[in-house]
Amino acid sequence: MSNIGVYLQPLAVSASSAYITSDTTEESANQTNQTYTVTSPSTIISISPNAPQPRLFRKSFSSLPIITMAELVLEYHELGEALSEMTTLDDDDERWIDPPVANIARRVASELMNGGYPAPHIFNHGPKSVVFNWSRGADNLYLTVSTDSISALISSPQRIKRRIDYPLTALATPDRLFPSIQSAYWERPIIVIKSASSDAMERPLA
């Protein structure tokens, strides 16, 4: 098929993929060789024209997650790119952040991703802090991350409803930190489903 410019490109379908990369691309006269790698902790599948064989994957037909993990992970990938870009700007750019701050922000983002929290919007507050932002109706949650503390601020258009400060060491127990912030934001108890599995996106038993 490749002789006429139509290439049989295997595609993997995975509802449970934890991360997906689409990487190398080499163009020739009438075909493109693309390699896709679909990766999850339980599987990594390489798909390339050199091995034009379909690779599986698991698809759950009888239940659908509210948001697929693949979507969530892609959103966090974009967040990671934004953080990287913010460290490479000129230091007189108002969006520039100190690399150590970016490192802590990535760590927070990584824990949020592991916990399955929706990817936040991101902006900086000077070079010394990164702010993650979620909106719920008119309310906003701002999670300000610096190299020595984490601060959660919940506000409505009228007022600041609540502010909670945590030392950076609170990140050592993300399974307690983020549900507590979520509980304050949602103004109700949060039910956390824990799992003993080592699969991605499942909250470990602590």
């Binding site: 098929m1 410019g5 139509v6 290439y7 049989l8 490109q9 295997p10 595609l11 993997a12 379908v13 991360y19 990369t21 990487d23 190398t24 009438n30 075909q31 493109t32 390699t35 790698t37 990766t39 902790p41 339980s42 599987t43 990594i44 599948i45 390489s46 050199n50 091995a51 064989q53 379909p54 690779r55 599986l56 994957f57 698991r58 698809k59 037909f61 009888s62 990938h77 967040l79 990671g80 790119e81 953080l83 990287s84 490192n103 990535r106 760590r107 983002a109 990584s110 824990e111 991703m113 990140l171 050592a172 127990t173 003993a196 599995s197 080592s198 699969d199 470990p204 038993l205 602590a206």
Partner: protein
């Protein structure tokens, strides 16, 4: 009664997962870890575009697809079926040589013990999934029930999407509690081929008219991992936990009558 297509448990995937106590601020390189374990360059390497995306090194070792994926919060050394040139695109690829899987898992554990991961580690996991392809749900259910211990056996007919999981957690090395998860399930797999047209002069792609091939399989997954620790686990104990997980797979598969080559206790 429809004949069961295969009676040999093959490995679909296996992995050794390593979790840092806190997410890596500077994740190790997957290519370096791959080389440290397998002593060769990977066939493919995807560097990490940013720390929230994985870096992946991948190659074929002993007929098995070996991967090292590094994320900020975990490192996965995983094994899967190697690409083949099978003319039948509808085959579900599996690793028939389960002895090789065991051998590669041991190699990874030995590398972990030698200290290839220098960052503080708080959790490790040994995971293996075995499957037998089945033609119907009844067949898959029958295969699964046959591989369950007597105390869990239930009566199944043609029910779909059966899942049964238990965890016999207990304390093991250095008073660390380990999960010993066993999951019996019927999995559905879908294989899709998508024709695409690329390049100057290429005819337009045909209408998207994919006929996915669906395959049923009876699956038994072992996921043996320790509870997350805030105090780092030293290399020796990481290897002890991983080996404990691997030996439990061997013990369990024997107890379940799965007779998997290479996984004899």
């Amino acid at each position: 009664m429809t004949a069961i297509q295969a009676t040999q448990w093959n490995a679909l995937t296996a992995r050794i997962a390593i979790f840092p106590v806190v997410p890596f601020s500077d994740p190790p390189s997957s290519i370096n870890l791959y080389k440290a374990v397998w002593g060769a360059d990977p066939d493919q390497f995807f560097k990490q575009p940013n720390p929230l995306r994985p870096s992946v090194a991948q190659g074929v070792i002993g007929g098995v697809l070996a991967n090292c994926a590094v994320l900020q919060s975990r490192i996965d050394f995983s094994l899967g079926p190697a690409p083949s040139n099978s003319p039948d695109d509808s085959d579900l690829p599996t690793i028939e040589d389960t002895s090789q899987v065991r051998k590669e898992l041991v190699k990874i554990i030995d590398s972990v013990k030698s200290g290839i991961i220098t960052e503080p580690v708080g959790r490790v996991a040994t995971v293996v999934q075995f499957i037998i392809v089945a033609s119907t749900f009844s067949d898959a259910n029958r295969i699964l029930v046959a591989a369950m211990p007597n105390q869990y056996k239930i009566t199944l007919a043609d029910e779909e999407d059966f899942i049964f999981q238990v965890n016999r957690a207990h304390r093991v090395v250095d008073n660390i509690r380990m999960n010993f998860l066993k999951k019996w399930s019927v999995e559905r797999f879908q294989i899709v081929n998508v024709p695409i047209s690329i390049g100057p002069g290429a005819p337009p792609s045909p209408t998207f008219n994919v006929q996915p091939v669906e395959i049923l399989a009876a699956s038994v997954t072992f996921d043996n991992n320790n509870m997350p620790q805030l105090i780092p686990i030293d290399h020796e104990n990481q290897a002890l936990l991983l080996n404990r997980g691997l030996s439990q797979v061997a013990q369990d598969q024997r107890d379940f009558g799965m007779n998997i080559a290479g996984f004899e206790p």
